[in-house]
Amino acid sequence: MKIPQISIFVSNRPGRLHAVCKSLADADINLLSLTLADSGEFGLIRIIVSNPEKAVEVLSESGIVATVTDVIACEVSALKGGLAKLLSTPAGSLQIDYMYAYPTCNQKEIAIMILRFRDPDEAISLLEKAGVQLLSRKELLV
């Protein structure tokens, strides 16, 4: 149920985001989601891609620093209170480093949230116990 997410360290300079995207595009890798956290001097680009193993290889070859971390994809209700409900489960009191919404085009009632827990294994067991629907890597790709 763990989804490999790639995090990329980039200096906050014009053209760096392009360099990252271009090396992935040249290798035929599709970006499924992208978020950017920035701290002034540098940024962390977090992406979920069609082929994470190849992506890391390609980035590495271009001298770009990247790491792979496990995140969890949860289905939540897209209606009011959906996220609040997820976080009211016991897993909501674990340490969450960050979260973001995963783009879904054809779903009106279901949203997908990507969560990065400090301890993903514990989170998975708590979420499953609470009946939260977790998506596998395959399901995300569809």
Binding site: Q5, S7, F9, V10, S11, R16, A37, S39, E41, F42, L44, R46, S60, G63, I64, V65, A66, T67, T69, D97, Y98, R116
Partner: protein, 448 residues
């Protein structure tokens, strides 16, 4: 296993190596005789040396003992620049067979020349360094010092050829190809700048190649100061023995001195280069064991004899016996250069202190650069640090914590606050494989 002149690893007598083991009294006789010849040559052929000595009313015949060297005026880097290009040459150009020059990043380059005899001496001293650190003619050596005007590449190359090793003159740059060659050519030993080898280690790890599994046994590193921490880092990460070779173009290039397998100081090839330590403030000679600025006089150079050259390197002469048995004296490894030092808010700072702080914080040796600036009449220090894959995290708070660990560690050592900026690998400039550690943007009138 230590090699000695009487029973080296091939069981053969090597005359050039025996020079390292000369009885001290004999060595002093050789030094005095050569010093007298060098002073006479410099006085007769080089107007600058003659006028400086005349000013102090010193004649070559006044040099009656080695101590009398203190009568001779110092030579500075500025003298080499002011006499650009050939003003300090004692030989005629028809005798000169090689010219090298500094990169000249701070104005005109300095030019140095060699006669055929000088070239012979140069390759012999490098060879003695190679023998002292366990290189043999069976080695396949990858030389990634820069080839060209810089003395590093061709200087070490000459010694390797004299030794009879198989030299790969790959020069610097193209790190992935360097690693491919190391592996495919079954390289057994290397030579180059330590900062570039740290880069090679990082790239190899990224490529999934463990240098410890290759055949490389040893490396000779020089051309820039490198700390003991950096040595530990190199030895641990690459599984080789890392030795320090010392030299400077003004004197001959690499091969002024070299460590032996004991790794406890740099033996100076004293029969060709006479070392002294002076107090950089009072310019008075200091006794062995005391730390100060290294001053070197050439004892056999023909094309360009140099008298009492102020190297700006801070070290001390160690005259205690080395367990290798060499009688030539050692200097402590150079940790700092007096002209690398910068003064920030009244505190003297050496780049090596920053290096120590980074190593302490992260047990890793990232490439770094120090940028000095002045904002609202206040000096600022920014330390730019390249982030490697090992240091990186996907969490912003971890990255902030990394930044704080670096700045805290630096502040503990220097006692002043600094701004640490994390940046991408490869984004900080490097010249000729030599790391440029300090950029001073302060617009101060005049310099030292």
């Amino acid at each position: 296993m230590k090699s000695s002149c009487w029973n080296d690893q091939n069981g053969l007598f090597l005359p050039e190596m025996s020079l390292d083991f000369m009885p001290v009294e004999r060595l002093k006789q050789v030094q005095l005789q050569r010093l007298q010849a060098t002073v006479s040559l410099a006085y007769e052929k080089v107007p600058l040396f003659r006028s400086r000595m005349d000013e102090k009313k010193v004649k070559p015949s006044d040099i009656k003992s080695l101590k009398d060297i203190a009568l001779i005026p110092f030579t500075m880097k500025k003298d080499l620049r002011d006499t650009y290009p050939y003003g300090l040459f004692a030989a005629e150009m028809k005798q000169v067979v090689r010219l090298h020059a500094s990169s000249g990043t701070t104005g005109k380059p300095i030019v140095v020349g060699y006669t055929r005899e000088d070239m012979e001496v140069w390759s012999q001293v490098v060879k003695r360094g190679l023998l002292a650190t366990g290189y043999t003619k069976d080695d396949i050596v990858q030389n990634f010092y820069g080839y060209g005007l810089f003395t590093g590449g061709l200087g070490v190359h000459g010694g390797l050829e004299a030794l009879g090793a198989a030299v790969i003159p790959v020069s610097g740059g193209n790190t992935e190809r360097q690693i491919m060659i190391m592996k495919d050519f079954e390289v057994t030993a290397i030579a180059g700048t330590p900062s570039y080898f740290v880069r090679i280690i990082d790239v190899a790890e990224r490529m999934g190649i463990d240098l410890r599994t290759l055949k490389i046994k040893r490396g000779l590193f020089g051309a820039e100061p490198w700390s003991d921490g950096m040595r530990d880092y190199i030895e641990e990460r690459s599984g080789i023995k890392a030795y320090d070779i010392y030299g400077l173009s003004e004197i001959i290039g690499p091969g002024v001195g070299c460590e032996c397998e004991c790794q406890n100081g740099i033996h100076i090839f004293e029969d060709h280069f006479y070392p002294e330590i002076i107090d950089p403030e009072t310019l008075e000679p200091l006794p062995d064991g005391q730390e100060g600025e290294l001053v070197i006089s050439t004892l056999s150079k023909q094309a360009m004899p140099i008298l009492r050259y102020r190297t700006r390197d801070i070290t001390a002469i160690e005259n205690t016996p080395c367990s290798c048995g060499r009688t030539i004296r050692r200097i402590k490894r150079i940790g700092r250069r007096s002209d690398d030092m910068f003064i920030i808010r009244g505190v003297n700072v050496f780049p090596s202190q920053i290096e120590t702080a980074l190593l302490r914080a992260e047990k890793a040796l990232p490439h770094y650069q120090i940028v000095l600036d002045r904002k609202n009449h206040l000096d600022t220090v920014e330390v730019k640090v390249e982030v490697s894959r090992d240091m990186m995290s996907d969490s912003m708070s971890d990255m902030d914590a990394l930044n704080k660990r670096f700045s805290h560690s630096i502040e503990q050592i220097l006692g002043i606050s600094v701004l640490v900026t994390l940046c991408e690998p490869g984004s900080l400039p490097r010249s000729e494989g030599k790391a440029k550690r300090v950029i001073d943007n302060r617009t101060q009138g005049g310099s030292l």
